[in-house]
């Protein structure tokens, strides 16, 4: 049974308090028991306690599956990109390197890539994913679009990302301020901006002529 179309996942990093409840909850998921698939990033650890949780965004054009040489990563009809299929995965790490969101995790002991599958055992029967159930500040939320608009009057969901020439729509939404002009998150454009709070611009291409071709 596929996951319900009407229920969607919303990530609001601004609400994250860094409690790691999602990481603990994720470990309980039956599809990858004992392994957390959530990445909790410190945005700028030296200057801020702000954290940002990252779950799989379930792209409509999943780069992890595009780069898989073993044809192991599949997307079910409800738009959820599943963990690599065990008989096929060759543990080559391509997907880990390719995913722009850093989602796939290589389990070297099992020679298997495992990734967030939105708790498929739960969402496919209409339950919330574990992380969204556990998150006390609902930085990770799972519900209908209408519910989210009612509960978060100052935020709006965005699910379009721009990577250079490639536009990616995701099943998971990211919340941005409602009055922000943003409709598309242009990821590569932000790469050359100075990192928040950093005194040094850690642009590896800086100072090289022609963007580092020399």
């Amino acid at each position: 049974m596929p996951a319900l179309d009407t229920l969607e996942f919303f990530i609001d990093a601004g609400r994250c308090i860094g409690c790691q409840a999602c990481i603990q909850a994720c470990t309980e998921c039956d599809t990858h028991k004992g392994h957390s698939m959530i990445q909790l990033d410190y945005v700028d650890r030296a200057h801020s306690t702000q954290t940002a949780p990252v779950v799989c965004l379930h792209c409509d054009s999943p780069t992890c599956a595009e780069v898989c040489p073993a044809d192991a990563i599949k997307r079910t009809e409800d738009g959820i990109v599943q963990t690599a299929r065990k008989p096929r995965c060759i543990a080559c790490n391509n997907c880990v390197l390719a995913c722009p969101f850093g989602v796939p995790k290589m389990q070297t002991r099992m020679n298997l890539m495992m990734k967030c599958d939105m708790c498929y055992d739960r969402t496919s029967v209409g339950l919330k994913p574990w992380c969204a159930s556990a998150c006390p500040s609902q930085a990770l939320a799972y519900g209908t679009r209408e519910e989210m608009a009612r509960l978060r009057p100052h935020a709006k969901p965005v699910n379009t990302f721009q990577f250079g020439m490639q536009t990616i729509h995701t099943r998971v939404n990211v919340m941005v301020p409602r009055d922000a002009p943003t409709e598309i998150v242009d990821v590569t454009a932000a790469m050359h901006e100075p990192t928040i709070g950093h005194d040094i611009l850690d642009d590896v291409f800086m100072g090289m002529p022609d963007g580092g071709d020399a």
Binding site: S61, D71, K74
Partner: protein, 190 residues
């Protein structure tokens, strides 16, 4: 779910939901993209690993089964040999005569035929085709099954004509002191 991407083009084909990176329709995509689809529902490819796993496990199961049969036979108790039993007197039958008997008691009917002065043969009376009773045709040195016109050799019990494929189970007989004794039953060999 993804319907909002479709931009009002009607319901989306959920099985073909994955969009190639260049965004062009599937018909314009290279063939390998149709051969190795990302959509789970379209993926019917059996990988080498899956095939090898299936073959190895099936072969292992067959091998284990063979060993199991061998062990089972090795530990099985064989039934004790049958005791001999008198079934007729020599004088009771003229040469070419026949009678039915049961051996061991309660068995299916067996057929005893006197083929010569001291020669007796005995077989199970059930035809090995469909269990009709066979009748002796001593003049032709055969046994006849009238149901489907099956013929067996009188000396060996082997099928010679008609539908039966297996020989009649033979009852071993022994003539001692004017008595005919049954001493054992041979399994029907093909």
């Amino acid at each position: 779910m993804i319907s909002r991407q479709a931009g009002g083009e009607g319901p989306r084909d959920l099985e073909h939901a994955t969009v190639p990176p260049d965004g062009r329709p599937l018909a314009e995509q290279p063939k390998w993209r149709r051969d190795f689809p990302i959509d789970w529902a379209l993926d019917d490819y059996v990988s080498r690993r899956e095939l090898v796993k299936f073959v190895v496990l099936t072969s292992a199961a067959l091998t284990a089964g063979q060993f199991w049969i061998v062990l089972k036979n090795a530990f099985n108790r064989r039934p004790p040999p049958l005791a001999g039993a008198p079934i007729a007197t020599v004088d009771e039958l003229s040469v070419g005569g026949a009678k039915t008997f049961t051996y061991p008691a309660g068995s299916t009917p067996r057929l005893l035929v006197r083929t010569g002065a001291t020669a007796f043969v005995a077989y199970d009376q059930q035809c090995t085709h469909l269990q009709c009773p066979v009748v002796p045709a001593v003049a032709q040195r055969r046994l006849h099954c009238p149901c489907h016109d099956g013929w067996f050799d009188l000396e060996t019990g082997r099928p010679v004509a008609g539908p039966p494929q297996r020989a009649l189970p033979r009852v071993l007989v022994e003539v001692r002191d004017g008595m005919v004794y049954a001493t054992g039953v041979e399994d029907s060999a093909s």
